[in-house]
Amino acid sequence: MRIHKTCDGVKRRDFLKVGVLGGAGLSLASYLRLLEAGEVAEKSRGMSAIFVNLPGGPSHMDTFDLKPNAPTEFRGTFNPIDTNVPGIQISEHLPKLAGCMDKFVILRGVSHTLGAHALGQEYVNCGSRPLPSLEYPGYGAVVVKETEQNNPTDLPSFVAVPNNTQQRPGFLGVKYAPLNTGDTPKAGQPFSVRGISLQGGLTVAQVEKRQGLLSDLDATFRAVEEDSQLLEGLDRFSEQAHSIITSKRSRDAFDISKESPAFAEPFGADPFGLSCLLATRLVESGVRFITLQLGGWDTHQDNWTRLSKGNGRSPGLLPQLDTGLSSLLNGLEQKGLLESTAIFVTGEFGRTPKINTRSAEGGRDHYPRCMFMLQAGGSVRGGQAIGESDEKASMPANEGFTPDDVAASFYHNVGIDPAKEYQTNTGRPITIVRDGSVIRKMFA
């Protein structure tokens, strides 16, 4: 019954009062000021978001930030090609993305200092440098929390394909964790998702019958439910789970075999491409946040082979990314969803500009000081390369951006004020993004 206080003595109830206005500690006036200044987009209600994680850390110099004139020990073997936006060049192994450069923004010269996979991942998945004393919530958890009231009840709000252990709900708690599909879809087949799809030949009719039994038997606490948040919550979630399991909408959302072959064809048959196809369906159905994953970027050795052709075991990374991501952007546009879907693509860091010679072909090692990130959808004005790295892509040429800045911009794009304050369970006031400021150019 005790109302817990923040360090400032602001009580939880006060947060609720201002909560509907989008921020604790924000008066209506200051909120309106922010609105005017474009700090808070008005359309958050209808926005969805897709976060494409590239774990391992993709080489920036061989993808979106090439330096053809750099010395040999830096340059790498790939050549740049023109894109459909004059003046912007990307790697020759990304021809399809080059053809839709107008739909996304490349951020170059993003920089941080965490060179370990786990920490770097944690950082880029929440936009605040990890602290030992506190776990920041990832983007998905925040977006779902902020849009809670408007999310459909017969669909999960946050889906991770196939899973995402890096975007964690942090101090927001397990109820904002994603539903992991556990697997990626197969071309032309209905996709069975753990917990959602009916298992073992069960029919909707059987499930309904069973549910009827449950609601009759689950009567012990009925008289006291309204006095207990826990019991009430369990009741609500039980109904929602049932409606997700039995709803046609949710089954359809995951069934990529329902897409027309003409629409599905460009996504190819790789797991990543099909995940992208699934993401377009999920967004269309009303899922709020989706994370996708394409791993294998930790190219300490055989960097160029692994990026372009693959090493036999797995196909080349760039063709997979090229096909999946370009189809995702084009597909969302075809469905008229690109404007209402914010897209964020990143790995945990870039890779060393100087080529290591530990293997015959050479490779690149972890390098957080200079990396790229991509943004698209929503009010992002595509067709830009913002920011710049120096001539060897070893650091930002000017001030550069931090993952915090990109995070703030992403939240801005989704319509969430990145400076909004939450309080942790220990009563500490925390802004969603600790230090970032919105990169205005992205939207100009």
């Binding site: 109302i3 964690r168 298992q199 826990l230 039980s238 789970a241 369970n425």
Partner: protein
């Protein structure tokens, strides 16, 4: 000294017939708003006593204003004050001084708050107000501050020190008297910060005027200088107070103290619950385990009047008790997989998380006292004095090599200090230690005065120094044994190998019988500093116990031992309290102090006498953990029904009823396994910890995965043991949990008739046709028959050929095959034998069984009728019974402890 301060501030809770202490402010200087009311005041205010508190009162040093770490408008004050020097320096900052001694009225700290000079923070006070005169007079007096003049506040006396309200709108004025160490007293009411912990009970305005709102109890919190004083406020929930309160028996001291509080509140406790309710609850709380159907039946028929007490005693001897409370201690101490990466030479084969768990498990099982366990974790060494490093490595190698040895045999659990989040970070060590063993969140004080407690930044950074000589055990040898280490490494032929190679090779060398190097915790001979330039900290060379003595940490052998002695001292205000409070919270959904890991002054216990009684008893028992469990579990307070009455249905903090709470992740996982398992398997899950989630050693937010228990445990919020907070464990409900229970392949697999499940047994019984297993048995019989036939043909052949030797051999084989065939046929016969019950009777008894194994009670008649009807309508009774089991584990009653 500070301990005494806290104690003297602590409020006695005897409200019965309270006659309010009238203000004894006769000796005190009058309030500052009176003294500075007029412009011609001559007094010069004091920076510590008046100016800084006034900044606090006006909100200047709040986090949204100049207390922000970036400051505001180029002016930064220490958050919540108490860093006087820094604040004074900030006021005289060369670039933009806030005070003009030559022309006081032009000083920014006067002009800004009256909004004469544009002030983003708006107008804070009127020109010519007392606040204005205080600041003006301070500037006119030279705007001085001298560090050596900082005085200690002996007491902040609040009058009245307890408040009893009776109707909405009733008002009470609170007065605060500061008593300084020089004996001087001042009425500081206008300089205090006031807040109410629940303004649904009472509101308090900034002048200390209390207004009653709704019924209930809470605390007001009054802060001034370093002091934070809670004042209890009670407004009875009903008219059943005093003489009108019904007779409620208080069987134990715990009950007496709880009822004493309830009587003031007019709350009548629920009845003592029935046996079935008690058994399920105590089983889950004490052992993290659901009772089996058999256990429920036996307990309900037991006529011993002391069967509850006996059950508690019996449960305290089970492996599940040790496992579940080991899991809890692993939560509190942070046994986290990620944090123990690469800290052990043999970590891949013998994970340190397992060592950690096993070490604690052994001691909980043997009921080693809590202080000894903590001592083994924080202040002990595995390398005895005088042992050489090589001998130590030999000993450790044996521990991991020999089957009859275990890490649990060692005197110390050294990995606590090896936690990677503690690595080279003294602040993190202090924060973690205070969290684990004192239930304190002192992290606020790392950067600013703790807003809810007495701790200042200096207190924090002096305390931290007790942990600044610890050299944690790592994979390598401690520095002082480097020569021996190098020699050992050379002999082993692993010089210069990289970490990954060592991880592979060292265990192999160990198996070959070699002595391999191990890490060991040591005490550095210098004061280590945090290895992170971002950490801002004042440098102290001594250490100071929180609220206790100053110690020269370089002059003692091992500062850890000083802290340990202090912790287990009878007058330590945190150690025993933190443990009993956390244990209480595990039984009652809320701690007496709640959240249970936040023992600060502004978060007072809901029943101080109760907390004091339990911590005193715990200390007197010699830190016997089982004493705490017995004392709680045997009380009527614990055994109350969850069924509320009109007076207590909203009570969640005064323990007048059992509050339903979701099963913890591990307990939920195990309960699902056990409730759906065959009788034999259920018994084994209940009696042992094999295959149990409560026996999983490590935890982390990162090692999720989609298979096995990891998935379910993450969904149900197993502690991530990441951030020094009991809230790393979640007991909130979520959509994914209900999706999991209703439709996850793992759960459906358990509910279905698969090998080892309850429904499989039901199916074998109800459906005489061969199941998969029977078919296999049938095939086996058929195969034996054909082998027998072949052997007989052979026998005839050998007989014809008069080959005696072969004849004898074939005869032996035939008799063997006959025996096997008989056994195989008999086993088919066994599962197809019809029992005597009719089909309907069987269905009924299976429904009863399903209730006992899930909800630990018999079904009510209406439930039974509905269930029987459901099964009868089903196409197949087995399927119907499967649905009954499914529905039962999906009831709230199943997933909730009540």
């Amino acid at each position: 000294m500070r301990i005494r301060l806290i104690l003297s501030l602590a409020i006695c809770m005897t409200l019965v017939g309270a006659s309010w202490q009238t203000a004894t402010a006769d000796d005190a200087i009058a309030a500052i708003n009176q003294r500075f009311a007029s412009a011609d005041v001559q007094e010069t205010p004091n920076f510590q006593k008046h100016v800084v508190p006034l900044f606090g009162r006006l909100g200047c040093n709040g986090r949204a204003c100049h207390g922000s770490f970036q400051g505001r408008g180029g002016f930064r004050l220490s958050l919540f004050g108490y860093d006087f020097q820094a604040d004074h320096d900030a006021i005289f900052n060369e670039d933009s001084p806030r005070v003009d001694r030559e022309n006081p009225l032009a000083s920014l700290i006067l002009a800004k708050p009256i909004d004469e000079d544009v002030h983003e923070g708006g107008k804070r006070y009127e020109k010519d107000s007392w606040q204005f005169h205080v600041i003006r007079r301070w500037i006119e007096g030279g705007a001085e501050f001298k560090k050596e003049q900082v005085q200690k506040l002996t007491e902040l006396k609040i009058v009245p020190n307890e408040i009893l309200l009776s109707k909405t709108g009733e008002e009470v004025q609170v007065k605060a008297i500061a008593i300084w160490e020089d004996g001087s007293q001042e009425d500081v009411t206008p300089l205090c910060r006031f807040q109410s912990n629940d303004d649904q009970v009472a509101e308090i305005d900034q002048n200390g005027l209390v207004t009653a709102t709704n019924r209930g109890d809470t605390h007001l919190v009054i802060s001034y200088d370093k002091a934070v004083v809670p004042v209890p406020v009670i407004r009875p929930v009903t008219d059943l107070v005093g003489d009108k309160y019904p007779q409620v028996a208080a069987r134990t001291k715990v009950d007496e103290l709880v009822i004493e509080k309830l009587r003031k509140l007019g709350v009548v406790p629920s009845e003592v619950c029935g046996d079935a309710e008690f058994l399920r609850r105590v089983r889950l709380d004490l052992t993290g385990t659901l009772p089996t159907a058999e256990e429920v039946k036996a307990f309900l028929t037991d006529e011993d009047s002391n069967k509850r007490g006996k059950k508690v005693d019996q449960l305290l001897e089970t492996p599940a008790y040790a496992a579940w409370w080991t899991t809890k201690l692993c939560d509190f101490t942070g046994n986290n997989t990620q944090n123990l990466n690469n800290v052990s030479s043999v970590g891949r084969e013998h994970p340190p998380t397992q060592d950690w768990y096993d070490w604690i498990y052994r001691r909980v099982e043997q009921n080693v006292t809590y202080d000894k366990i903590v001592e083994g974790i924080v202040a002990s060494n595995n390398m005895p004095p005088g042992q050489s490093y090589t001998e130590y490595c030999k000993m450790m190698s044996d521990v991991y090599r020999e089957d009859d040895k275990s890490y649990a045999d060692l005197p110390a659990m050294e990995y606590y200090w090896s936690r990677r989040d503690f690595n080279n970070n003294m602040e993190a060590r202090a924060i973690g230690f205070a969290y684990s063993f004192m239930g304190l969140r002192i992290q606020c004080a790392q950067c600013h005065k703790h807003p809810f407690d007495v701790w200042s930044k200096d207190d924090f950074h002096q305390f931290k120094n007790f942990f600044a000589r610890i050299q944690p055990a790592a994979r390598n040898a401690p520095r002082e044994y480097r020569d021996e280490y190098n020699k050992l490494v050379k002999e082993l032929g692993i010089e210069g190998k990289r970490n990954n190679e060592l991880q592979r090779e060292l265990p192999a060398l160990l198996k070959e019988g070699k002595t391999i190097p191990f890490g060991a915790i040591t005490t550095s001979n210098r004061l280590l500093r945090t290895n992170n330039p971002d950490e801002e900290y004042p440098k102290f060379d001594d250490g100071k116990l929180l609220g206790g003595d100053v110690v020269d940490v370089m002059k003692v052998d091992d500062p850890r031992k000083v802290v340990m002695d202090w912790l287990r001292g009878a007058d330590n205000p945190f150690f025993a309290k933190a443990f009993v409070n956390r244990t209480w919270a595990a039984y009652f959904n809320a701690g007496i102090v709640n959240p249970p890991d936040d023992l600060n002054l502004a978060n007072p216990p809901s029943n101080k006498a109760l907390l004091d009684h339990l911590s005193k008893g715990f200390i007197e028992s010699g830190f016997d953990m089982k004493w705490v469990h017995r004392t709680i579990a045997n009380s009527d307070t614990y055994q109350r029904s969850w069924q509320p009455n009109d007076t207590n249905k909203l009570d969640e903090r005064n323990f007048s009823r059992a509050v339903p709470r979701r099963l913890p992740a591990e307990v939920a996982y195990d309960a699902i396994q056990q409730a759906t398992a065959s009788n034999a398997k259920a018994k084994s899950l209940c009696d042992s910890i094999d295959g149990r989630a409560i026996a999983i050693a490590g935890a982390s937010a990162r090692n999720g995965g989609n298979n096995g228990p990891a998935f379910a445990l993450a969904v149900f919020g197993k502690s991530t043991r990441e951030s020094n907070c009991d809230c790393d464990r979640s007991s909130e409900p979520s959509l994914l949990q209900t999706v999991f229970l209703q439709n996850d392949r793992d759960v459906l697999g358990l509910v279905d008739a698969n090998r080892g499940t309850w429904l499989d047994g039901v199916a074998r019984d109800l459906k005489p046709q061969p199941t998969t297993d029977d078919a296999a048995t049938g095939r086996k019989s058929a195969s034996l028959e054909s082998q027998l036939k072949a052997a007989e043909t052979q026998l005839q052949r050998f007989k014809k050929a008069n080959n005696e030797q072969q004849v004898a051999k074939a005869e032996r084989r035939i008799s063997q095959l006959e025996k096997q065939l008989n056994e195989s046929n008999a086993s088919i016969a066994k599962v197809t034998t019809q029992p005597h019950e009719s089909a309907d009777e069987k269905v009924t008894s299976y429904i009863v069984d399903a209730y006992l194994r899930t909800l630990s009670r018999y079904p009510q008649q209406s439930e039974l009728t509905r269930s029987v009807a459901y099964v009868q309508e089903a196409n197949d009774p087995v399927e119907g019974l499967g649905d009954i089991l499914w529905a039962l584990i999906n009831t709230k009653e199943f997933i909730v402890n009540h």
